[in-house]
């Protein structure tokens, strides 16, 4: 087939598509730049189906999911705004993985920092096993600074999202401390683990031998939220613990599981673990 023939066919197809799905002629009003700079709220990003035949139905569907549905299109493509928002969210997700928790945030909650064997972010992503082991230095520091055999050990880690800690720790952590108080539980010395994976709980369990351990860790960022946190809980964590022995409350962020409510609920879960002397799928909640 000649090149010009192909071009001709492509042109015909495009014309046909244009005819079938005419581009929205009304130009979208360009979002005004905020006086204070380029600050966009969720509303600025919002696009919708113009004159939907069944608006109530569309609204119900949109309300049922945070996914990008009912955002409309131009011709056969998404609107520029939708594309930009997708790229924006993707960039935020990448930033969350690559970012670091500010010293200031950790100091606010009196958390000292130890590291796993993750070396650097690149190795951290390639070698999950390294994020499960603490460095020798870290083991010494913990042994030195922390109360041994505490009833509850609280550990915070950046995991895959530093911004999860930045966003949620200020709400989850104090609510968690309150819930320990309400449930008459006592906590050991909390600290921060840099470059941690969920199973670093086991190593810490070996070192400090707490009755229960709760790890507040940043989740793998997604396109809905880049700052989502999980609370992993385990009864007598130690080497050889399997995934089904852990409990988790996930998706903790202001638009997901409410951080203060999640923090308040952790105390109840820990109390039940201590009463039933078990965690994971065998725990009756």
């Amino acid at each position: 087939m000649q090149e010009n023939e192909i071009e001709f066919i492509v042109q015909k197809v495009m014309e046909e598509l244009q005819r079938k799905f005419p581009a929205e002629t009304k130009t979208e009003q360009i979002a005004k730049t905020n006086e204070d700079g380029l600050i966009f709220t969720e509303n600025d990003w919002k696009t919708s189906i113009p004159a939907a035949v069944y608006q109530e139905g569309v609204s119900d569907l949109i309300a049922s999911t945070p996914a990008r549905i009912g955002v409309w299109r131009t011709g056969t493509r998404p609107l520029t705004k939708t594309m930009l928002k997708l790229q924006f969210d993707h960039a935020a997700a990448i930033d969350a993985v690559g970012g670091e928790v500010l010293e200031k945030t950790l100091a606010e909650f009196d958390l000292f920092t130890v590291e796993t064997c993750y070396e650097n972010k690149e190795t951290y992503l390639k070698r999950p096993d390294k994020g499960r082991m603490l460095t020798d230095n870290a083991v010494r520091t913990i042994k030195d600074k922390c109360t041994h055999h505490p009833q509850v050990q609280i550990v915070v880690s950046d995991g895959l999202s530093a911004s999860a800690v930045e966003t949620n720790l200020k709400d989850v952590y104090p609510a968690l401390l309150d819930s320990l108080k309400i449930n008459n539980l006592s906590a050991g010395t909390p600290f921060f683990v840099k470059g941690g994976r969920v199973a670093c709980m086991d190593h810490i369990g070996e070192i400090l031998e707490p009755q229960v351990l709760v790890l507040l860790i940043g989740e793998r960022p997604g396109l809905v939220s880049a700052s989502s946190m999980s609370a992993y809980m385990c009864y007598r964590p130690r080497k050889g613990v399997v995934e089904s022995d852990r409990n988790v409350i996930s998706n903790i962020h202001p638009l997901g599981t409410p951080p203060v409510e999640a923090g308040a609920h952790i105390g109840t879960v820990l109390k039940k673990m201590l009463e039933q002397k078990v965690s994971g799928v065998k725990l009756e909640l």
Binding site: G57, I249, N251, E261, T268, L285
Partner: protein
């Protein structure tokens, strides 16, 4: 989770008939195991239906309490259940019986003698909604695009509820019912309800006790009655134009209806062949069968499609038994020794970023007016349309709530807070840590209540949640 089903009773004391149903509500976890626990009623099943009996009356304006109580006992014996087996449900008094002299006392008497957490409810609007849920209209509206009106016609009133996608849009109640005119087989009128008089007068119909009417005359009267009601429902006539026929309405203008379902006793009769003789028509000693026949005829003149109801005469009682109980969120703070709590008036408020103390105090003073001498639990605070509160703001809110409450209600023993959003455990524990040890806290969430509603809170289920019944003002 292997949870026990809740046995729930429904009792409907109507203008002409009384009935009871027993149902089982099964709870199940509806949230994923990685999220905070959240439970809901996942299955509802009717397990027993009583016979439909005539509502026992002492005389024209008093219900025979002892006869009703005796009937209830007999039914429970037949089912083989004791009162403590029944964990929830509702006694509803409907139609014209609600205005009888001893209605209020009777309702609460029966509710307290029907089970652990059986509540008393009344009110035309609520009745219409429950009938629509029981008849299947609410469920049906979820499957179609348009608005479905459920017309529940009993002996004394026609209660209409408008549903869209399972949500209630509006309600209206008419003085249209099968028992508003009582007749014998010779067509002699033995009673005319006072609530119909105004309309009869406005239409120049003369119907009085002792008069003898033909089937044709009764049919004509019923036909005009149906026409006026339907004209109003489809918007042909404004509500104000048929004022004498309207008992109450939730708004001035009604939504446009696409489909209708007919339930209630008259709804059941509408499925039968219309009466051809007076003898036939007067089999219940009232105009019910005639009204039903005329309604079906009249509906043909309107662009409405009529959908057959899943339940007719038992629609309201099924709604009352199965649809009144809601389940709170499962992360809450409770003080079990204070439960159940009944008939707590609700003060609704939101949140203010500035002058929080004055803001809260204003609402608490409103609450002071609502409470009826219950010093221990003066009222419940409903927190609605709340922004997401970070920990520090939540703590501040708890502090101010506790402070103002203790100051204005020094005799109170419990602070009851009902939140719309999932925040009750956090707020509850913040309140607990802030209040004196002798003040208990009940803080529940995922329940929507309006200002002026009454709320009943039952004993905890599975130690983690409570059944809740929200009632719009029962007797005004």
């Amino acid at each position: 989770m292997g949870m026990e089903a809740i046995k729930s009773v429904g009792i409907d004391i109507g203008t002409s008939t009384t009935k009871l149903i027993l149902s089982e509500l099964r709870l199940g976890r509806v949230s994923s195991h990685f999220a905070l626990p959240h439970f809901d009623i996942i299955d509802r099943k009717v397990t027993y239906e009583s016979d439909i009996i005539s509502t026992p009356m002492k005389n024209g304006d008093e219900i025979d309490l002892m006869a009703l109580a005796g009937w209830l006992e007999q039914e429970y014996r037949r089912i083989g259940l004791s009162l403590s087996d029944i964990k929830s449900g509702a006694v509803i008094i409907t139609g014209e019986t609600a205005i009888k002299k001893n209605a209020d006392a009777l309702l609460h008497y029966l509710a307290e003698r029907s089970g652990d957490f059986v509540v008393a409810i009344a009110g035309a609007s609520l009745e219409g909604v429950l009938a629509g849920r029981g008849s299947g209209s609410s469920e049906y509206s979820k499957k179609v695009k348009g608005i479905v009106a459920n017309i529940d016609i009993g002996g004394g009133t026609a209660n209409v509820a408008f549903f869209q996608q399972g949500k209630v849009l509006d309600t209206i109640t008419f003085h249209v019912g099968g028992r508003l005119i009582e007749i014998d087989s010779a067509g002699e009128v033995s009673a005319v309800s006072p609530s119909l008089q105004l309309w009869l007068f406005s239409k120049n119909f003369l119907v009085e006790k002792g008069m003898r009417l033909t089937l044709k005359q009764l049919s004509e009267l019923s036909s005009v009655l149906c026409k006026d009601m339907l004209d109003c429902l489809v918007g042909k006539m404004p509500i104000a134009a048929v004022k004498s026929l309207v008992h109450s309405a939730s708004s001035e203008t009604l939504p446009m209806i696409d489909e209708v379902m007919i339930s209630g006793g008259v709804g059941r009769l509408a499925l039968e062949v219309p009466p051809s003789t007076l003898d036939d028509a007067a089999k219940y000693n009232d105009i019910g069968p005639i009204l039903a026949g005329e309604l079906i005829k009249a509906l043909k003149n309107y662009p409405l499609s009529v959908v057959e109801a899943a339940q007719t005469s038992r629609a309201t009682v099924i709604g009352a038994g199965m649809q009144t109980t809601k389940i709170s969120g499962a992360t809450i703070s409770i003080a079990p020794e204070h439960l159940p709590l009944r008939n707590i008036p609700v003060v609704k408020m939101s949140y203010s970023d500035t002058a929080l103390e004055q803001y809260i105090e204003r609402f608490f003073l409103q609450g002071k007016e609502l409470f009826h001498g219950n010093f221990e639990v003066p009222f419940a605070i409903s927190l609605a349309e709340m922004p997401y509160l970070p920990y520090l703001k939540l703590k501040e809110l708890a502090e101010v709530l506790g402070k103002v409450y203790t100051r204005l209600f020094p005799k109170a023993a419990v602070l009851v807070v009902v939140c719309e959003n999932d925040m009750a455990k956090a707020l509850g524990q913040a309140l607990r840590l802030q209040l004196a040890a002798d003040m208990d806290v009940i803080c529940i969430d995922q329940v929507v209540v309006e200002h002026g509603d009454y709320i009943d809170i039952g004993e905890p289920l599975n130690d983690t949640m409570v059944p809740v019944v929200v009632k719009t003002l029962a007797f005004s």
